[in-house]
């Protein structure tokens, strides 16, 4: 049986917390599992496939114990913030292949209450590439900043163009009662915020929050008997990019490979997409991803994101929940991309609803954009 169009997201739940010093990350996983299973009209006993990404000391085995799960199929793909998008693709493949019937994907983190410096901690000496980088003080934000700098050099992209993306995300966050920051900001506000790693300012960077979420997937056939309108997984693909042997074009990001493949697998074109959920760790991530996905030409991302095109009411609304730039970013936010896409395709977007949304493109980026990163694209469709 083909993967595409035969499996569906049938439960989705985003934990409303943004700051939870009274909670543990395990607890956020568990509460999210409860929320998503209740949304699906299923029970924990129905789960026979479990997908999560190890974070710090929290591994898949520990989470299985915490939730007392005994699944037939597990996957702890850990490729950064995109992992949970990847888990959905892997769950779709596993369901289509008969390896499991009901897949649960969970995420939880207390990055904010633990005061974890997500983007500005140095690189810890670990695997081989690190010894050639860590002595020079790379940070996650610095890695993305070097891509932004190169983009500015090659195409003349400006800080004001990047700022426009942050302004748009904040406008969307204003419609999301759970968003961490909801007060409108201007391009001037972004440019006046302190530089963290040039050319990226504080407001070019995602927030640091606590939070989590969960998803439940099953076959499209079984989905017909369940409570909620199913959201079909129509296509998807993964890719990685890295410095390789030292000749890598920094603007050739993973989305350039995963995007066209995902669209082709879904049998849809760019013009068919009603809204996008694009991992926005930094403003440059959105700009570089939209170009690489092929929504505009290389170098045209700045102009593409201007003038409200990626805002609600524009031609291609992006991150209608306010994204990582304003709503939440507990360290890895791939799951929220999928949850917001599901919300839109079910017509549950409230004030932020994209009218008649039928097709959504989700793209997660994980890791360090300028050194090594993953990109996972997934096309979701209303059933």
């Amino acid at each position: 049986m083909s993967i595409w169009g035969t499996t569906a997201v049938v439960g989705a739940w985003e934990h409303p917390t943004r700051f939870a010093p009274h909670m543990t990350a395990f607890q956020i996983h568990a509460e999210s599992a409860r929320g998503a299973l209740a949304d699906a009209g299923l029970t924990i006993g129905d789960v026979d496939g479990f997908f999560t990404s190890g974070v710090g000391p929290i591994g898949l085995l520990s989470l299985c114990q915490h939730l007392d799960l005994r699944p037939d199929h597990v996957d702890s793909t850990s490729i950064g913030g995109s992992s949970f998008v990847s888990h959905c693709l892997h769950a779709a493949a596993a369901i289509a292949a008969g390896l499991c019937k009901v897949a649960l994907v969970t995420y939880g983190s207390t990055a904010a209450s633990e005061r974890f410096a997500v983007g500005t901690a140095g690189l810890v000496m670990g695997e081989p590439p690190d010894q050639f980088e860590a002595p020079f003080g790379p940070t996650i934000v610095g890695s993305y900043a070097m891509v932004a700098q190169r983009h500015m050099h090659e195409y003349g992209t400006t800080s004001a163009e990047l700022a426009e993306i942050a302004v748009t995300m904040r406008r969307h966050a204003g419609l999301n009662p759970h968003a961490k920051y909801r007060e409108p900001i201007t391009v001037e506000d972004v440019l006046a915020s302190r530089v963290i790693s040039s050319p990226l300012h504080l407001l070019d960077c995602c927030v640091i929050s606590d939070g989590g979420g969960a998803l439940v997937l099953t076959s499209a056939e079984r989905a017909r008997d369940l409570a909620r309108r199913a959201v079909l997984i129509l296509g998807g693909a993964e890719a990685v990019r890295h410095l390789g042997i030292g000749r890598h074009d920094l603007l050739d990001v993973a989305a350039r490979q995963s995007g066209p493949l995902a669209l082709a697998r879904a049998g849809v074109r760019h013009d068919d997409i009603d809204c996008c959920m694009i991992y926005d760790s930094y403003t440059i991530t959105v700009l570089a991803t939209l170009e690489a996905l092929g929504f505009c030409k290389p170098g045209e991302g700045g102009a593409f994101c201007a003038g409200g095109r990626i805002a609600l009411g524009g031609a291609l609304p992006v991150n209608t929940d306010g994204g990582g730039l304003s709503s939440n970013h507990p360290g890895m936010r791939g799951i929220f991309l999928v949850i917001e896409a599901v919300r839109q395709l079910r017509g549950e977007g409230g004030e932020a609803q994209v009218s008649d949304a039928k097709l959504a493109l989700v793209h997660g980026t994980g890791g360090m954009l300028g050194q090594r990163h993953s990109g996972v694209t997934m096309i979701l469709g209303r059933s």
């Binding site: 003080g137 700098q149 050099h153």
Partner: protein, 138 residues
Amino acid sequence: MAETRPYKKPLPRVDEESRGYWEALARHELYFQRCRDCGTARSYPRAVCPSCLSSATEWVRASGRGTVYTFTVTQQNQTAGFRDELPYVLAMVELEEGPRLVTNLVGCAPDDVRTGMPVEVAFEDVTGEIALPKFRPA
């Protein structure tokens, strides 16, 4: 060079795949590798050529000249060592022989750094055994 204050930044781990690289740097010589079978240059050093999986490797001495491929002026890094030296310039330098390195730019004001700017290697002795290849304006 006698460094008396403790060096707090991460030191590279010298392993069997990169020992020759670090030993040369300690002598203030910058080398990269080239595959003897397919001729592909590679950076960082590793035992097997990713292009053809050959282990036949030659070390090529770099001139030390290059250009800034990209950079960022780091204003925030919580890690010990770097925290005390803000702002500093993290960069990728393209050697004139082709391969690029992740490095720091030194010897000029961070505001004066430009992409495409010509640079040359400036070895920084950090311990008796370890020197790091940093770059300064040429």
